[in-house]
Amino acid sequence: MVEHQHTTEISGVPTDAYVGEEPDDMEESILESLPISFEMVLLAPSIITLAVLSIIPLVVMISLSFMEVSFTPIEEQIFVGVENYVDMTNDGNFWDAWKATAVYVGGSLSLQLGLGILISVMLHRVIVGENVFTSIVIMPMMIAPVVVGLLWQFMLDPTFGLYTYLMNQIGLFIDQPILGDPNSAMAAVILMDTWQWTPLIVLIILARLKSIPQHLYEAAQVDGATGFTQFRYVTLPLLKPAIAIALLLRSMDLMRYFAKVFITTGGGPSNTTKIIGLYLYEQALRFFNLGYGSAAGLVLLAVTVLMGLAFVETIMGGAGDDE
């Protein structure tokens, strides 16, 4: 029925009118003879691409998570049921990785959001040369994560790093290298990501700030609001949807974070920066526990999705009807 309707709409004339053998009619019949509807024909390329790139790997991953996979002497898959998942609950390293991830994601998100709001509100106030300032602020975002990792490793190098030198000058980290100390290594990794990705939050929030009409502030001023109460009761509530989007994007990205830690600390010292992404990499690609790695990966996927939903639900009230 749907198919029929749409094919007639294309020619703009009801199908009933077609009785002759005009060329138009030929075209009509080709479309009608297709086994799938016209919309599906148009959608097919993207669906196929999506399937190859993500749906098939996902299905394979789900099936792998119930297998024990060995590569020696030949590839072999043995069905083990939920054993991988049971192992996970007993694996102290897995939980440690999640703890590191929690510290890492929580620290980075709050730092990035706080700084992001602060910087965007300041940028919004800049009248002369706003574009120049904005461009400077968003520059770190343009750099590849691996390069950021290398850059920071260089800066934090115990012998010739600029940051290490500056820290040493004020009497910090004289005895141990910054990336070699369990506490400062995590802080350094969080700062690295904050340096690179705060600009994204700035961009998202700045765009929203610009869309808040000036007359709302004027109304608030006449209503008795000070600079702070204007921010508290007008700006902040209206920024909520933008904050939710920023948190969603950053949390998804942070959960699967890998490159910068891999380059700088490699998960150390003593696994303090071994976040879940790095743990997954080790399990699946260093130890070749493909089954176990897949199961852990699925857990990561589930946690990420739930976290994203939670942000959208709590901040935007579900449908974003705070607008």
Binding site: A219, Q221, A225, Y233, D322
Partner: protein
């Protein structure tokens, strides 16, 4: 409630390039409803915003009550403002929108605020909307909420910045009456900015007409209409606008007359008393003005006992209660408001006439020399168009 006074207020923008408000002095009495009217960009909104504290006057003083408020923040001025686009807080429901000012600026308890909000909502008949968000409301309802937000504060003054411009015509008329009613009931000093001269005429206790940042005239609506201070006010107040024609005083056979400057299509004989009274001498350039309702039209010149002028009917606009005729006289178009029974066809020739009592005259600088004479029985009893033949 308080008197508001503006004393030589000037507002310049970006290094004196633009003078938005130019030396405006104005006093608004306690409880008075003053309408600031003028075309777009005439500085009326800037004047209002200067009173609100959203703009700072470059020169001059603004006082509300006995306080000079120049350096005060808007929140310290105790005024409430209604904006053209309502400026409701989109994330708050109607109740919180209305109560926001009380919550911020007073130390009232939640219960007291709630009572005040309910009271204001009752006055505006929006009690059943209190828990809605602004986006669920129609334009008219949003404007009521904006009014509620102003009323609930019981401020010293209401400032309205074109509050009805975004509403459709019918709602606009309804809200016009409503605002006037509420203002009278609460007896709060109000300044109302609009570009709509009809709104100004119907709502204001007094009207202040502005143009190019300068105050042109302040007066009661009828005063401004019947005795405009200058050519600008005469043309701006009244719809359709006053007919105007540039002319020059000439002499023919010892009698003075006005000749239209550009094409000489109209000559208007002047009585000796008039030339004396207004000191007109040949060569003076004056602008003739006549309100459309003072222009009488007939098919034949015999219908008039005073002088008449031949024209061609360009357009007939029926309004129901009247017909508007657009008549071409030389290169100018004259508008006449005639009874609906008189409906000439387009292209027909017709004669227009306006008595000397109805005549407005403006000098070369645009200042009024003569206004319509209201004491004359001829013009006070409504001039009707002479019949057909």
């Amino acid at each position: 409630m308080a008197q508001i006074a503006l004393n030589h207020v000037t507002k310049e923008y970006s290094g004196a390039d633009i003078v938005a408000v130019d030396d405006v002095s104005l006093e608004i009495d306690d409880g008075e409803f003053l309408v600031l009217v003028g075309p777009s960009g005439c500085g009326k909104s800037t004047t209002l915003r200067t009173v609100a504290g959203l703009e700072t006057a470059t020169e001059g003083d603004v006082s509300i009550g006995s306080t000079r408020v120049n350096g005060l923040e808007p929140r310290d001025r105790d005024v409430a403002m209604v904006f053209q686009n309502y400026a409701l807080y989109p994330h708050m429901n109607v109740r919180h929108n209305i109560g926001f000012g009380l919550r911020l600026a007073t130390d009232m308890s939640k219960g007291e605020i709630e009572d005040r909000v309910e009271e204001a909502a009752g006055l505006l008949e929006i009690t059943d909307l209190l828990d809605q968000k602004p986006k669920a409301l129609s334009g008219g309802q949003q404007q009521r909420v904006a009014l509620g937000r102003a009323i609930v504060r019981e401020p010293q003054a209401f400032l309205f910045d074109e509050p009805l411009s975004n509403l459709d015509a019918r709602l606009r008329k309804q809200m016009r009456t409503e605002i006037a009613r509420i203002q009278e009931q609460l007896d709060v000093t109000s300044i109302y900015v609009t570009h709509d001269q009809e709104e100004a005429m119907t709502m204001g206790d007094r009207i202040a007409v502005m143009n190019d940042g300068k105050l042109q005239q302040v007066g009661r609506p009828n005063e401004v209409y019947n005795d405009p201070a200058n050519r600008f006010v005469a043309g701006f107040i009244g719809s359709p606008s006053m007919n105007m024609l540039e002319s020059e005083v000439a002499e023919s056979d010892g009698n003075a007359e006005l000749q239209s400057a550009e094409d000489g299509a109209l000559t208007y004989a002047l009585s000796a008393e008039m030339t004396d009274e207004y000191a007109l001498t040949p060569g003076d350039r004056v602008t003739i003005g006549a309100r459309p309702e003072d222009v009488r039209v007939a098919v034949s010149p015999d219908a008039f006992d005073s002088q008449s002028h031949e024209t061609t009917v360009d357009v007939v606009e029926p309004l129901g209660s009247d017909n508007l005729l657009y008549l071409s006289l030389g290169e100018t178009t004259w508008t006449a408001r005639v009874p609906p029974s008189f409906e000439p066809s387009t292209g027909e020739s017709a004669y227009l006439s306006f008595p000397p009592e109805a005549l407005h005259l403006f000098d070369e600088r645009g200042e009024t020399l003569k206004s319509r004479d209201l004491t004359d029985p001829l013009t006070t009893s409504r001039v009707t168009a002479a019949g057909t033949d």
